[in-house]
């Protein structure tokens, strides 16, 4: 068995979620061919289990072209499985690959295929899981970011390059608005999030500082981004992005069901709220009933003392 892994890059780095996809493929067994789009240091790909790295000099996000190039790499290597990350890139590419290869797709896998070949994924906005079987000879699996353990195997992969396949269905990219943060929300292992309880955008300084001390990304509830207190890409929940960090700290957020839909798969949830009846406490692992304006500065002081950031 051979597996093609789609690897994407951002600002000259391989995305962390792509490393997880490589590790997922390696843990499934068989030969792993990582196809990397865009220029970046690829030495980590072997470390996480790639046998071969194929570099493609295509910097634009052209889903049709990327899918056809991955398909060609699969044909050349006799691969029958594609693995991608279920991030914005993978969500565009995986379904195209699936239809092109007539291969069943399980999107958002949270575990390796189990003994009976079924793959577990979250459904109903994180309120349940489904175990899915792929019936076709070829298969496509996209892996939910931050849901599997990456394993270092210390291989070094043989590198080659290939040209991107010309595509019929191309787009013209006019403008890019990349986020200035170094830590995209969907890749953060730790997230500090705040809601309407913070009263106004001027009070976010302590949230940003705490996040920085903990090495965390920042997020917010929907009304906060609707009121433009915070940028839209920070909005988590059913209508915003869904995240699955190891640690989610929610400050002044009530815990409405639509908010929970985006964060309920976090491994550890901490809720800080001055209302002991706030529904969020029902989903929390740790809770502090108190005023954010008193609790957060104290946390910040303690975090500095414990210095997590080095």
């Amino acid at each position: 068995m051979s597996t093609i892994v789609y690897v994407n890059t951002n600002k000259g780095n391989v995305n962390k979620a792509s490393l997880e996809a490589v590790s997922y493929a390696a843990q499934m067994g068989g030969e792993v061919i990582a196809v990397q789009f865009g220029d970046a240091d690829s030495s980590e790909l072997g470390n996480y289990g790639a046998d071969k790295v194929v570099k493609v000099a295509l910097n634009e996000f052209q889903p049709d072209q990327i899918s056809k190039t991955l398909q060609k790499a699969a044909d050349e290597n006799g691969a029958d499985t594609f693995v991608l990350s279920h991030d914005f890139s993978g969500k565009a590419i995986a379904p195209i690959l699936s239809a092109q290869a007539d291969a069943g797709l399980v999107s958002g896998a949270v575990a390796l295929p189990s003994g009976d070949g079924t793959i577990k994924k979250a459904v109903f906005s994180g309120k349940a899981f489904a175990h899915m079987k792929i019936n076709t000879p070829k298969r496509v699996i996209s892996v939910l970011p931050n849901s599997i353990e990456k394993k270092e195997v210390g291989k070094s992969a043989a590198e080659s390059s290939m040209d991107a396949v010309a595509a019929s269905a191309s787009l013209t990219v006019k403008e890019q608005k990349m986020e200035s943060t170094d830590l995209p929300l969907t890749e953060g292992e730790k997230v500090v999030s705040a809601g309407r309880g913070l009263k106004g955008p001027e009070n976010w300084g302590m949230i940003e500082e705490l996040a920085k001390e903990l090495g965390a990304a920042t997020a917010c509830s929907r009304p906060v981004s609707d009121m433009d207190w915070r940028p839209h890409h920070e909005h988590v929940g059913q209508t915003g992005v869904a995240i699955r960090p190891n640690l989610y700290i929610a400050v002044g957020i009530s815990g409405a069901i639509q908010h929970l839909a985006g964060v309920n798969q976090s491994k550890v949830i901490v809720v800080i709220n001055n209302d002991p009846e706030a529904p969020f406490f029902k989903s929390a692992d740790y809770g502090i009933v108190g005023d954010a304006f008193e609790v957060v500065p104290k946390l910040l002081e303690k975090a500095k003392e414990m210095s997590f950031n080095d």
């Binding site: 969500k91 239809a99 899981f129 489904a130 019936n135 013209t172």
Partner: protein, 246 residues
């Protein structure tokens, strides 16, 4: 513009999720069904706005059985001109995409709009599959769509940011927040929806590429451990030594 909007029927967000038949079936007892929010609020409403600005027609399509008809009528009440229902119970994304593509190939649509994902199976799959089956460009997670003649200017989410792209019709996109403001159907719309055409067509032959073998509910959350607000520093100690996430 001749626009096709794909609509899915999903349980209301606040539904209690339970399973029957030894965890193999979703228990629909007492569940309210709605049009998938992204399909309704963003894809359908933006399609209607484009039609209102430059003329044309908006058709909604659903793959499903007759019990989906009330949900389809809701989309007609909001303003779609007509509806197509492919009469088969959707079990898998690829086969469902093939049903929609089979119709769309006959329909001569200028664009096909989907939602970014369904809130039940959370696939984010159909749009890209339909695009590939039609050999048309796919623009996923679009948050803005403006038409200028046959050229669309679209803002989409990509990993790490947003991008503005241009593409000529025909194309397929999946709609996310930002594209339009939700509309509430009015009485006139609801009355009119009763007599708008809802054409039921029979499915093509397409086997299921995937299937759900079983469901599982997450383990119940343990009790919340409370930390004294006077001494919140203890939280960080626990997160390090007990939860091991710091």
């Amino acid at each position: 513009m001749n626009i096709l909007v794909c609509i899915s029927k999903v349980p209301d967000t606040t539904s209690k999720i339970a399973f029957s038949d030894n965890n193999t079936k979703f228990d629909t007892n007492g569940v309210q069904f709605i049009v998938n929010p992204y399909d309704e609020w963003y894809a359908l409403v933006r399609a209607l706005e484009i039609k209102e600005a430059q003329g044309g027609k908006v058709t909604v399509i659903n793959v499903g059985l007759a019990d989906n008809d009330p949900t389809i009528r809701k989309a007609l009440a909001i303003g779609a001109d007509d509806a197509v229902r492919v009469n088969v119970d959707p079990q898998d994304a690829l086969s469902t995409a093939k049903q929609i593509a089979a119709h769309a190939k006959e329909g001569g649509y200028d664009m096909i709009l989907c939602g970014k994902e369904t809130i039940d199976y959370n696939g984010s799959q159909l749009g890209g599959m339909i695009a590939a089956l039609m050999d048309q460009p796919y623009i996923s997670y679009a948050s803005k769509l403006d038409m200028n003649g046959n050229t669309a200017t679209i803002e989409r989410d990509i990993q790490g940011g947003k991008e503005v792209i241009e593409v000529a019709t025909p194309f397929v996109l999946s709609a996310a927040k930002g594209m339009a403001e939700a509309r509430i159907p009015n009485m006139r719309g609801i009355m009119a929806a009763r007599t708008k055409p809802l054409n039921v067509i029979e499915p093509i032959e397409a086997s299921n590429a995937t299937e759900i073998v079983s469901f599982e509910l997450p383990p119940a959350k343990g009790d919340c451990k409370y930390i004294d607000a006077e001494n919140p520093g203890e939280l960080l100690e626990l997160l390090r030594s007990e939860a091991k996430v710091l």
